[in-house]
């Protein structure tokens, strides 16, 4: 099995999906001969031709609206938005149309589209290129939001997203696009959606995260293991609809929980998880849940971004506070 990075695994999943299903169409800015600004679509135009890999004019609203129209015809558009900061013009179409086409036609039409978008900080990118705004989308009824955290999961989850008959926002944590290559088999096998992935079992505390922060979360768990603290690490993966049951079960076992995400704290997905854990599992909580997050401010331009990004030390500190509570 080849070792590959996440961005390579994404490319492989796209190829696999396109080979297996003629109705899968790639579109977006620079996805053709250039293979995408992050090279996720490299080679697709050569293999599948101009009719299946469409370089669009520069207009994100158009990319989303076009995808809705294509999807209504039974195609499976997989559109790329270059950076999360530029996804905002798609929202009218995502919320008003993509996510409700099946609902408002009572199943007569549906919208099997995927919007892929790299997100998050940590790569010293220009202004507006490093946001983590998953909470804008995770709250949209009818829109699935899926975030992988390893090459192999990126492969299997992207296949699942493409095969899913409903619209999926597939958010790619670009900070780990090229970190930690791992063996990925081109099996054509999709991984399940709508379920948390427990990456590590443990008894003392539950650490919940997604995307690039899984890296720091696992680092913290390693570190804590050496100190004799056993962490359960949960990768939420699908942020909508969200699998609260796995998290509730884990916290019922450990009694303590830290949630980690890069997005600003207020009204983010961490809030939903924390609220639900306390509402439905209050009796199990041996300590207050703790959120380790970005600040409630604009994602800084890169010179200062390290001050914004939650890091392993922050997680360790939060775990310490949580464990010491009594």
């Amino acid at each position: 099995m080849n070792k590959m990075t996440m961005v390579e695994a994404i490319n492989l999943a796209l190829k696999s999906a396109m080979r297996q299903d003629d109705s899968v169409i790639i579109l977006g800015e620079d996805v053709g001969v250039n293979g995408g600004v992050f090279r996720a679509t490299v080679g697709l135009r050569d293999e599948f031709g101009l009719k299946r890999v469409l370089d669009t004019p520069l207009a994100e609203t158009m990319i989303a609206g076009l995808s809705v129209g294509m999807a209504s015809q039974g195609l499976k558009p997989v559109a790329e938005i270059q950076f999360m900061g530029f996804i905002l013009p798609t929202m009218e179409h995502l919320i008003g149309h993509a996510a409700r086409l099946r609902h408002r036609t009572r199943g007569r039409l549906h919208c099997p589209m995927v919007l892929r978008v790299p997100f998050g900080g940590g790569i010293h990118a220009p202004e507006h290129h490093s946001e983590s705004t998953e909470a804008l989308f995770a709250q949209i009824p009818g829109l699935r939001v899926v975030i992988p955290s390893s090459p192999a999961r990126a492969y299997g989850l992207l296949l699942a997203a493409i095969r899913n008959p409903d619209p999926v926002l597939f958010m790619e944590p670009k900070r780990i696009y090229r970190l930690n290559a791992q063996p990925v088999e081109d099996s054509g096998q999709a991984l399940p959606l709508d379920t948390c992935y427990t990456l590590r079992e443990g008894n003392d505390i539950t650490l919940i995260s997604w995307g690039a922060m899984i890296k720091e979360t696992l680092e913290a768990a390693d570190h804590l293991a050496q100190q004799g603290v056993s962490c359960e690490v949960i990768d939420v993966v699908t942020l909508n609809p969200i699998d609260h049951e796995t998290m509730l079960a884990s916290v019922a076992k450990t009694g303590r929980c830290v949630i980690i995400h890069e997005a600003p704290k207020s009204c983010a997905v961490g809030a939903e998880i924390s609220a639900t854990l306390a509402e439905r599992g209050l009796v199990n909580l041996q300590a207050p849940i703790n959120r380790v997050t970005g600040y409630d401010t604009v994602m800084p331009y890169y010179r200062m971004e390290n001050h914004y990004m939650p890091n392993t030390a922050d997680i360790l500190e939060a775990v310490k506070t949580t464990l010491e509570f009594s």
Binding site: A59, Q73, H93, G96
Partner: protein, 362 residues
Amino acid sequence: METIYQAQINFSRFLSASGQAEQPLPSWTEQPDTLVSYYRNMVLARQLDNKIIALQRTGQMGTYASLLGAEAIEVVLGERMQPNDVLVPYYRNHALQMLRGLSMEDLLSYWGGDERGNAAAAMGEDFPNAVPIATQALHATGVATAMKIRGEKRAVVTVCGDGATSKGDFMEALNVAGAWQLPVVFMVNNNQWAISVPRSLQCGAPTLAQKAIGAGIRGEQVDGNDVIALHESVSNALQHAREGKGATLIEAISYRLSDHTTADDATRYRNNEELKAAWEREPIKRLQTFLHQKGWWDEVQESAWQNEVAQLIQQGIERYLQQENPPVEHLIDFLYAELPAALQEQRARLIRNAQPGGSHHE
């Protein structure tokens, strides 16, 4: 200074406001069938429109957008489109949607606040109404892209108002339709008003058709009260599209003879002279005069058809009024192909609350 590009916008009309031929008519008008069919469908459209407004006034219908004044555009599009074309409509295309297969009770059901009105199998691949202005123009380009990828000889028709031409979606759609030579007909029902905002405030250009120029597609203006001019323009545009030659923007000059919707009162912002003048140009009387002159339509046919239409409408309304509420779980069941586990509890609560004794039982 060198002139590197020239463009022009043409306007066409065959029948004058008083129903006289202004120029030689196309040969298909030598047979009565098409014109009489247009006439009959326009009469149906208008009577139904009146009735729906009456229903609304008596609390049996929600906020409704009248098509009064747009009948010609509706019936020409409806009769010129092929069944395998796709319509991506806006909220004022009731007659057009019915000519595409939507039943009267499904139409009424939609405006009566029920999404089942968007569900009828007879609608085929047509989109439901776009409520957010101009978004439909982009869906139309997406449908057209699918046709183009598959090499099909079909066309997409999308309709919007004059106000909608100011929104980015509309202009982005024209642009991609031009860049990719997509088989789309963009019909602008320029009824001179966007709620209270007159056409003159939407755009500084003398025509809306000229928005086609910046996108490199065909653009033309047509009298939207003249079924003959519309027929020519729409037929050409559809053929152009089906032959793979690209998109057309048709600006049909009409007038919104009604309030914007039943929630609006146009006397607040619109002067009565203008409205009266517009009634002089309306499409039904114009065609009627022409048909009378030709001897293709008379008083007897008129009253027979008016009666038939009244009956059809009465039946449609009765079926609508008899509709039971949909099952409450419909509020959740169609959100995803399969109900996610995360929604099971909410679905159960929804059903429980709707039952006798539940918090939402009526």
